[in-house]
């Protein structure tokens, strides 16, 4: 169990892993995530499930190398085992037939977006997807996204691929030309904040999938707490998706930086070791 079946580099920082775990593959729904641990001294960290094959008994994870834990995960090779893997966690996305869905994925956020747009498409919706990244190298899963979208728009900050501009520019263009019934945004917190501000202007119900810091992932510790509509919610049990217009993004961004010092130090030590 938890054996790495295959590994593929999308870029030097973004890796796709297929992991054997029949139980999770079977019970997982779009929007769910897992908590992993690499090595006996590893920390627990979350990753959204980007896909699953219940028949083969595998799940797909897409990892961006940002620190020690993601580096350790990416250093594993097919045949290696992930020390601990638990899931599926979080509330699954509320998939229904509503009309037209605008999906926006920033950077590695496209990976968790995939199962959601697939589900919305299968439910009979029109799906318009915008994927964005800083540059061409960081655009991932384009073909998979295209497969499940009626229309796919690619935006890069520097214009090296697709159109030049931020994800919000791409979104706004779509909003102005057709009626959008619901929007889903996944990506770096700051991207979700601005995307949410945009859709709020146009009164489009929007869900954002948050990437809060987690320790246990089962609602036990409160590290992932976020204010939604003035109420305290735990990302790991009541999320990871919330009504974007009610999320206190500023507070969330501040909390994401909670262990910055420690993370930086740990990363330095780790890079010296390898």
């Amino acid at each position: 169990m938890n054996k790495i079946i295959s590994k593929e580099y999308f870029s030097d920082k973004v890796v796709k892993l297929v992991v054997e775990n029949p139980l999770i593959a079977r019970s997982r729904k779009p929007g769910n995530f897992v908590i992993l641990r690499i090595g006996e001294k590893g920390e627990r960290f979350p990753l959204t499930i980007a896909g699953a094959d219940p028949v083969k008994g595998t799940i797909t994870l897409v990892v961006q190398i940002v620190g020690v834990s993601s580096s350790k995960l990416v250093a594993l090779e097919p045949g290696d085992h992930i020390t601990d893997l638990v899931g599926p966690l979080g509330k699954p996305t509320d998939i229904r037939k509503i009309g037209t869905v605008l999906a926006a994925g920033g950077g590695v956020g496209v990976a968790p977006l995939l199962p959601i747009i697939e589900a919305f498409k299968k439910a009979g919706n029109r799906v318009v997807t915008v994927i964005a990244a800083r540059n061409k190298d960081l655009i991932i899963l384009e073909d998979e996204a295209k497969k499940w979208s009626d229309e796919l728009i690619i935006m890069t900050d520097d214009g090296s691929y697709g159109r030049k501009g931020l994800v919000t520019a791409g979104m706004e263009e779509i909003i102005l030309r057709e009626k959008i019934d619901e929007c889903i945004v996944i990506g770096p917190a700051i991207m979700m904040k601005f995307a949410s501000m945009l859709t709020k202007k146009y009164n489009i119900p929007t869900q954002a999938s948050l990437n809060s810091i987690m320790v246990d992932g089962t609602g036990m510790c409160g590290a992932c707490r976020v204010s939604v509509g003035g109420k305290l919610k735990f990302t790991c049990v009541e999320g990871p998706e919330f009504d974007a217009h009610q999320i206190d993004f500023d507070e969330m961004l501040m909390r994401l930086g909670g262990y910055k010092e420690e993370e930086k130090k740990a990363n330095e030590i780790y890079s010296q070791k390898i």
Binding site: S27, V86, V215, G219, M220, C221, V237
Partner: protein, 494 residues
């Protein structure tokens, strides 16, 4: 425990002989033993050195000789798991320490744990003959329990209690904390095929993530777990019942009964301004990082914030554990902030005493109002109110009332909110038919520990809110006894 069995045990020759060896007056003149403790200056430097060092053989036997081996042992009334207290103590007195351990294991699955964390002063020792009749200090039942369990562990000659012939009936626990382990121990003895499912990557629940190393070393817990494994209990980590597989899936796999011991793993916050700043966390988060993930050590990847001026809000054992951990992690000031007076703190007196010796400051009759942070969102100050005790309410406790105009500020860089925990909602949310109280606790028939779903029993914090390890164990035992009856009747009807 069956009074006839008690009587039979008591009438055994070795017991009668032991009783007659020392005169009653001599026994009662012996003062209660003092537990050797690691010096405060040393122990605050180490997260993983136990404060209570344990009795040595001479101390243990002398203390054991104080026990009068009463015909009617009132101490047993105070024990939630019905340990045959006189039997194990008299075995210590006569030098049969392994026998003593075996006596403990007849009813308790975790004797080394209980000996360390039970509030004996409120349970068995509170009903000791010495307290009731002589108004003297009780026999140190807790210290003796620990002595026997530790002796057995260190001897390498662990007794594995016998199990009945396997009946091939599969039962499962949800959670691997004290209630579930206790349930598992009793069920496996009855011949059941028991699987313990645990959501985290380590088994033991609050014993591992909640109680610090300096009170209950994880190695002690692991040893007890090994014994359960040797008895045949199966353990499955990284498995969330209701999510990884549903209850229906497990039923389809043949599980006939479930014990829900998923605990009170839901942190509570006070909902005051600034509580979401960085550096303010629940005691669950803090203790999990340090105890479960070993965050204080350099070779663990999990970070923990090591504050220099640490405030812990609360007055229970969890608050004590948190504040003493903070001290060990290098705090220059570690402060307990509790809104009532010291006399009303729920924490064990021993824990408060140890905390004071170690240099923890106690700001009682104080309550936080608001937190402030620096430009990066890291807490740097808190505002508090002084409180005074007002009229007693219906429960008899005097109510803390804010003193007008008494506000003051305190510089802090780490705040632990230890105001209690609530039942974790994950499992109940997977069972819509399960009757749950307004506060999230699973409603059970208190005699049987059976929930509104017949094949689901529950116990421990998920039923009680937040209580002690030993009560959780008592629940586990009761549930095992009743699930056994339920399954027997059930299969008899088919």
């Amino acid at each position: 425990m069956n009074p006839d069995i008690l009587k039979e045990e008591r009438n055994k020759e070795w017991r009668s002989e032991l009783r007659s060896r020392i005169k009653a007056k001599e026994r009662t003149n012996i003062p209660r033993v003092k537990m050797p403790e690691l010096e405060p200056e040393i122990r605050v430097k180490y997260q993983n050195r136990e404060v209570n060092k344990g009795l040595d053989v001479a101390q243990a036997q002398r203390e054991a000789s104080r026990c009068m081996d009463c015909a009617n042992p009132t101490c047993m009334e105070g024990c939630p798991v019905s340990i045959n207290i006189p039997k194990f103590i008299k075995n210590i007195e006569r030098g049969e320490f392994l026998e003593a351990a075996a006596a403990l294991k007849e009813t308790s699955s975790l004797p080394a744990v209980c000996g360390r964390v039970c509030p004996q002063e409120k349970q068995c020792e509170a009903h000791c003959f010495y307290v009731d009749k002589l108004k003297k200090e009780a026999v140190a039942i807790g210290y003796l329990e620990r002595f026997a369990a530790d002796f057995e562990r260190d001897s390498g000659k662990s007794n594995i209690p016998g199990t009945a012939k396997p009946n091939r009936i599969k039962v499962a626990t949800v959670g691997s904390g004290p209630s579930a382990l206790s349930f598992a121990g009793d069920m496996v003895k009855l011949g059941y095929d028991v699987t313990v499912f645990e959501a985290l990557h380590e088994i033991g629940g609050v014993l591992k993530y909640g109680i610090p190393e300096f009170r209950l070393p994880n190695s002690v817990v692991d040893f007890e777990l090994e014994n359960l494994k040797k008895m045949g209990v199966k353990f499955q980590t990284n498995f969330i019942v209701g999510r990884t597989a549903s209850f229906d899936d497990l039923k389809a796999q043949g599980f006939k009964g479930f014990f829900i011991g998923s605990g009170a793993g839901l942190p509570r916050f006070m909902d005051i301004p600034g509580e979401n700043y960085n550096g303010i966390m629940s005691s669950n988060e803090y203790l999990t990082r340090v105890n479960l993930m070993d965050a204080s050590s350099d070779n663990s990847d999990t970070p923990v914030i090591k504050g220099k001026r640490v405030a812990v809000v609360g007055g229970g054992n969890t608050a004590m554990d948190s504040v003493r951990t903070a001290l060990r992690l290098g705090a220059e000031r570690a402060i307990i902030i509790y809104r009532r007076s010291e006399a009303e703190m729920p924490a064990r007196i021993e824990e408060v005493k140890h905390a004071k010796e170690e240099g923890v400051e106690f700001m009682t009759l104080c309550n936080p109002l608001e937190y402030f942070a620096d430009s990066k969102g890291r807490v740097n100050k808190m505002r508090l109110n002084k409180m005074e005790l007002g009229e007693p309410d219906a429960s008899g406790r005097r109510r803390p009332v804010p003193m007008e105009g008494s506000e003051f500020e305190l510089d802090v860089d780490l705040v632990i909110v230890a105001v209690g925990v609530s039942p974790n909602p994950l499992v109940p949310s997977c069972l819509p038919d399960l009757k749950v109280s307004r506060w999230g606790t699973i409603v059970v028939d208190e005699e049987k520990m059976q929930s509104s779903i017949p094949q689901m029993f529950a116990g421990g914090d998920i039923v009680r809110g937040g209580a002690t390890v030993i009560l959780a164990m008592g629940d586990g035992r009761k549930a095992a006894e009743n699930m056994h009856l339920h399954l027997k009747n059930h299969s008899a009807n088919h």
